[in-house]
C-alpha cells in the first residue's frame, strides 16, 4: 500500500501533517507521537522579528470548537535558525516552517533565510492569520494582495512553497487561483474562521483581542466545502484542514480533493491523534481495496 504524496518537490511518506500553531516545534509531542509515522510537521508561525503575541486571555472554548488569539508569538527567524532548527532538523519526518509577516519585505526576508536550511524542504506562507492587526489579513483576503506576497516570496524561495488561505472571504477560489498563478506549489486551507466569544455574566468579550480564530470540529463543514471548491479550480495540490479529529474526517478531506491533510486542534484533545489518523487512513484504504492514497476519490 502506498500512502506517499508529493507537493511540489516535497515528498511525504503519508498525507498527514500537523498544523502550525498546534504542534509547537514537534518536540513538545515527542512523548506521544512517533514522528517517523507522520507525513510531516508544520512548525509554529515564524516572523522576521520576535513577537510577544497578544495579551492573555487568548483562548475560549466554543461548541465543538475553540477560539484562539495567540497573535503569532515567536522568537523570530534568527532564533529559530540558531536554536530550534538544530534541535529538530533530524526528526524523522519532513519539517515545514509556517511563515508570517506584516510586510512583503518581512515575508521575503524570512523565506530567504529558510531557503538556506538543508532540512527544511518547504514553507507554508500564512497570508491569512486573523489574529494580528498587521499579521497578513490584508494580503489574504484579495487576489491582488495574495498575488503580491506570493510573487515576491516565489522569487526568493526555491523549494516547495505552500500558501495557507483564509476562509474569511467571499470567494476563496479566486484567491487560490491567484496564488497558483504566481507559482505556489500548493495551497493549504482553511485557516481559522474569525469568531468571538462573550462571557454573559461578566458582560465582556472573553479574548483580550475581542475576536479570534475559530478551529475544531465546528468548522469542518465549511473547510470541506472550501477544499472541494478550490480542488476543482486549481491544478496544484490542496492540503485540507479544519476540525479533523479522526481518520474518517481526514478521508472526507481527501475525497473532497485534498492531496494531504493537517491536524490541528485535535492534537490538544489527543496528543497522539496525528499518528492514529495516518494509521486509520491505511485501514480505510485496506477496507476499500485501494493501492494508493490517491485512489481516495469520490465515486
Amino acid at each position: 500500500m502506498d500512502l506517499s504524496v508529493k507537493i511540489g518537490t516535497l515528498q511525504l511518506r503519508n498525507p498527514v501533517l500537523t498544523a502550525s500553531g498546534t504542534f509547537g516545534y514537534g518536540t513538545e509531542y515527542a512523548d506521544f507521537v512517533d514522528f517517523s509515522r507522520l507525513g510531516g510537521i508544520v512548525v509554529k508561525g515564524t516572523t522576521l522579528h520576535p513577537r510577544e503575541g497578544n495579551p492573555y486571555p487568548r483562548m475560549a472554548e466554543t461548541p465543538s470548537g475553540m477560539l484562539n488569539a495567540v497573535g503569532l508569538q515567536n522568537k523570530g527567524a534568527r532564533y529559530f535558525i540558531d536554536h530550534i532548527y538544530p534541535a529538530i532538523c533530524h526528526l524523522p519526518t519532513k519539517i515545514i516552517v509556517n511563515v508570517s509577516g506584516s510586510s512583503i519585505d518581512d515575508y521575503v526576508a524570512v523565506a530567504r533565510m529558510l531557503d538556506e536550511l538543508e532540512h527544511i524542504p518547504a514553507i507554508e506562507l500564512n497570508i491569512s492569520c486573523p489574529n494580528v492587526k498587521q499579521g497578513g489579513m490584508a494580503f489574504g483576503v484579495t487576489p491582488y494582495g495574495a498575488s503580491s506576497v506570493v510573487r515576491a516570496v516565489r522569487n526568493a524561495y526555491s523549494k516547495t512553497l505552500i500558501v495557507k488561505l483564509s476562509p474569511n472571504v467571499t470567494d476563496i477560489v479566486s484567491i487560490a487561483r491567484a496564488v497558483e498563478e504566481e507559482g505556489a506549489d500548493g495551497v493549504s486551507l482553511i485557516n481559522t474562521l474569525l469568531g468571538m466569544a462573550i462571557d454573559a455574566e461578566r458582560r465582556r468579550p472573553i479574548l483580550s483581542t475581542v475576536t479570534g480564530g475559530l478551529s475544531g470540529p465546528a468548522v469542518k463543514p465549511v473547510a470541506l466545502r472550501m477544499v472541494w471548491q478550490v480542488a476543482q479550480a486549481v491544478s496544484i495540490p490542496v492540503i485540507g484542514m479544519g476540525g479533523i479529529c479522526s481518520a474518517t474526517d481526514a478521508v472526507e478531506f481527501l475525497l473532497a480533493g485534498a492531496t494531504a491533510v493537517e491536524i490541528g486542534t485535535a492534537n490538544f484533545v489527543d496528543p497522539s491523534v496525528s499518528e492514529k489518523v495516518a494509521d486509520g487512513i491505511a485501514d480505510y484504504m485496506a477496507r476499500h481495496n485501494m493501492e494508493h492514497v490517491s485512489d481516495i476519490t469520490m465515486l
Binding site: G21, E28, F32, Y56, M59, T62, T265, V269, P271
Partner: protein, 256 residues
C-alpha cells in the same frame, strides 16, 4: 508525560460543589511532583472539546494512586464530578513544573497558603515536605466553613490555620488577615488560590522579602507548551503557564 486511562477508585463530595477523587491505573503511574497537574479528557459532554487541567492533590507511589480535587464550575468539571468508582477518565500526566522543594537538610520553615479549591496541590506538597523532615504550616481560606476543603487531611500532615470570609470558622476575613502571617517566622511561602488572593499574598511576601512561589491557573488548551494560549506576562515575556509553570517564583512575575 503519558496518556493513561485512570480508573476511579473512589469519589466523595467534599463540599456542595467539589469532589475528591482517588484514581489508579493498570500501569504504574509515572512519578509526579507536588504542583504538577494532569489534563483530563471530558467524555460524553456535548460541545466540550478540550481537556481540563486539574492539579495533583495527592500521590502515593506505593498504592499507585493519585487524588484530585475537582470543583464543579462548568459542563466539563460537572462530568468529572459525576464519575463514580470504576469509571475511567483519560489523562495526560504529569504536566508542568512543580513547587521547588528545599534541599536536603536546609533550614526551612514553610507556610502553605491555599484558597478555595486552590488548596488542592498543597496537601501533596505538605507530604513531600514532611518526608524531608519539615513540618508544614497550612493557612487555608474559604468563603464559609462548608466550603473549606479536606481540613482533616491537612491536619494529618501539619499545623492548620483557617480563615473564612463569613467567619464561621477560624479567623474572619481573607487569608491575608490571619495573624499567623506576621507572627510566624516563615522563610518560604507557597500559594495557590484565586488570583486576587494570590496577589495579596505576593504583595505581603515582597514587603517581607520572603521567598515565595505561586501556582497559576491560566486557561489552557494543550497543556504541554504547544499552543501558547495560557501565557503569563512575566519579566521574561509571555511564557506558557502549562509548561514553564504552573508554579512560578514571584521574582519572575510582573504582579505589583
Amino acid at each position: 508525560m503519558k496518556v493513561l486511562d485512570l480508573i476511579v477508585k473512589e469519589s466523595c463530595a467534599v463540599s456542595a460543589t467539589s469532589v475528591r477523587m482517588v484514581l489508579t491505573a493498570h500501569d504504574t503511574l509515572p512519578d509526579m511532583q507536588p504542583g504538577q497537574f494532569v489534563e483530563l479528557r471530558i467524555d460524553d459532554t456535548p460541545g466540550v472539546l478540550l481537556r481540563r487541567p486539574i492539579s495533583i492533590h495527592d500521590y502515593d507511589k506505593e498504592s499507585n494512586t493519585l487524588a484530585l480535587l475537582v470543583q464543579r464550575v462548568g459542563k466539563g468539571t460537572a462530568w468529572l464530578c459525576s464519575r463514580q468508582a470504576g469509571d475511567v477518565v483519560n489523562a495526560v500526566l504529569p504536566l508542568g513544573n512543580g513547587f521547588t522543594l528545599p534541599s536536603e537538610g536546609a533550614p526551612c520553615s514553610p507556610l502553605l497558603i491555599g484558597g478555595g479549591v486552590g488548596v488542592a496541590p498543597l496537601l501533596f506538597l505538605g507530604r513531600e515536605l514532611c518526608r524531608r523532615g519539615i513540618v508544614p504550616t497550612f493557612l487555608l481560606g474559604a468563603r464559609t466553613s462548608k466550603e473549606l476543603l479536606c481540613k482533616d487531611l491537612f491536619e494529618s500532615v501539619g499545623t492548620v490555620y483557617v480563615t473564612t470570609e463569613v467567619g464561621d470558622e477560624g479567623v474572619k476575613g481573607f487569608v491575608t488577615h490571619h495573624p499567623v502571617l506576621s507572627e510566624g517566622d516563615f522563610n518560604a511561602v507557597y500559594v495557590c488560590g484565586p488570583k486576587p488572593m494570590m496577589q495579596a499574598v505576593v504583595t505581603m511576601a515582597r514587603a517581607g522579602e520572603v521567598w515565595c512561589e505561586v501556582s497559576l491557573e491560566n486557561r489552557m488548551a494543550c497543556g504541554i507548551g504547544a499552543c501558547l494560549c495560557c501565557v503569563e506576562d512575566t519579566l521574561s515575556g509571555n511564557v506558557c503557564v502549562c509548561k514553564e509553570g504552573p508554579v512560578f517564583n514571584i521574582d519572575r512575575l510582573k504582579w505589583t
